[in-house]
């Protein structure tokens, strides 16, 4: 019981509640940005112009082959010097989360688009549709069914990477927990925070499987 009272105290007076809101905001904005950015990368990745394809592949491999932690620190400390623009903590966090998660989503989008049989596009072309019409009316509606579960997975994955963003100085749940730890030396605050993140994750997973179930019913 003692622990629960302490946790409640950290939540209301220790700043964990504010931190939780910041974490939720980062996560929500990060999700939207990632879903859109992944689509942009996929379009570039599948373009007919080879330098664009090369750039997209280089970006994907580079972000997949380096730690998120180093990406965050680099964008926090080094990139602002390089390009001469200083971004706020929230903007940096969103930027890095999007660039990082977008990579994985882009690969899933591509797999979804490529899973649509070639004959479908050819049938569209035979009917005299333009390239845009073929994409929008033939490929996209079929691919989206395969892509939606991947979006769900990416969103769940984003929840695992969001706690990293305290490294760019964002006052999120992790940062607040660290401050509580510094003041009170009570390690149980990390147990509390871990439980909070996990509950959020389980909630998302449940929503995800409900959605998948619904989509199958509609099909």
């Amino acid at each position: 019981m003692d622990v629960i009272t302490r946790w409640a105290n950290y939540w209301t007076n220790g700043g964990l509640a504010e931190g939780f809101v910041v974490t939720l905001e980062t996560f929500a904005v990060g999700c939207v940005c990632t879903i859109l950015w992944g689509l942009v990368v996929t379009v570039i990745r599948m373009s007919r112009f080879w330098p664009a394809r090369l750039a997209a592949v280089a970006y994907i491999e580079l972000f997949r082959g380096t730690p998120l932690l180093v990406q965050l620190l680099a964008f926090f400390a080094a990139v602002p010097i390089l390009i001469g623009i200083k971004l706020g903590a929230f903007e940096t966090a969103i930027l890095v989360l999007t660039l990082n998660a977008g990579v994985y989503l882009a690969e899933n989008y591509r797999a979804g688009f490529q899973a649509v049989p070639r004959g479908q596009q050819e049938a569209g072309a035979a009917l005299g549709m333009t390239r845009f019409q073929i994409f929008w009316r033939v490929t996209f509606p079929q691919a989206i069914r395969m892509i939606l579960p991947a979006i769900g997975n990416t969103v769940a994955g984003l929840l695992l990477t969001t706690p990293f963003v305290f490294l760019v100085g964002l006052e999120d749940l992790m940062a607040k927990a660290g401050q509580v730890m510094n003041r009170t030396a009570d390690w149980s605050v990390f147990l509390f925070v871990t439980i909070l993140y996990t509950s959020l994750g389980l909630f998302l997973v449940a929503g995800n499987s409900w959605l998948e179930h619904r989509l199958k019913l509609v099909n």
Partner: protein, 221 residues
């Protein structure tokens, strides 16, 4: 000019000097975590496939819950709970333990799907040849399942290598931690690009080799 200052050259020299020792720390954390994850994961996978419904259900719930735990809070939980209740522990070892535990559900799922995807015809063929059930397991199921699992395990190793950088936050002297000290002393944040490149040089060839293995090992199974 950027990247060519005296300061940066000093920092880079220092970085390259300390890299071998730091690399060993990163390697130890990564491989230790993978081993812990594989051992616990195998146990969890066997529990998941157990014929006792209660055990299987408990394992299933454990997998679902463990999968949703993010690295940073769990990591600090493991480190600080050990430090404040038992004894001081090297940050690197705490990191190894935390990453290993978080790998468990992924390893368990890899093992499970590997075991389940061995085609029943292969097993029946073994039995038809008069092999005992254990012999079929050892000679047929295990070799095929291992091949099926190898690419996924490899991918997990790469993810763990990249996640191991988090030990730097509690002061371990791995590649990231070591370079953070240099950067803070010399104010050369450009060095982070070199750090990123170092990880990339480790991770990229691994992923290429895996892709190759995947094509050669699985195609006929």
């Amino acid at each position: 000019m950027f990247l060519t200052t005296e300061n940066f050259r000093t920092a880079l020299t220092l970085y390259l000097e300390r890299l071998p020792a730091a690399f060993m720390v990163t390697l130890t954390v990564t491989l230790g975590a993978v081993l812990i994850g594989m051992m616990l994961g195998l146990m969890l996978a066997l529990a998941r496939l157990a014929p006792v419904p209660l055990v299987a259900r408990a394992a299933q719930i454990a997998i679902a819950v463990l999968r949703t735990i993010p690295v940073p809070p769990f990591f600090l939980l493991v480190y600080f709970s050990i430090v404040s209740t038992i004894y001081t522990i090297e940050p690197a070892y705490a990191g190894m333990l935390a990453l290993g535990i978080l790998l468990t559900p992924f390893m368990a799922e890899i093992f499970r799907s590997g075991i389940q995807h061995v085609r029943s015809g292969q097993i029946e063929a073994g039995l038809a040849l008069g092999m005992s059930e254990w012999l079929v397991r050892r000679r047929v199921v295990l070799p095929i399942a291992l091949r099926l699992m190898l690419p996924a395990i490899g991918a997990t190793i790469i993810v763990t290598l990249l996640n191991s950088a988090f030990v730097a936050v509690i002061g371990a002297k791995d590649i990231t931690g070591m370079s953070r000290n240099i950067i803070n002393a010399y104010f050369t944040s450009e060095l982070y690009f070199v750090v990123a490149l170092t990880y990339f040089i480790m991770a990229y060839p691994m992923s290429r080799i895996l892709a190759l293995l995947e094509r050669r090992l699985i195609v006929h199974l």
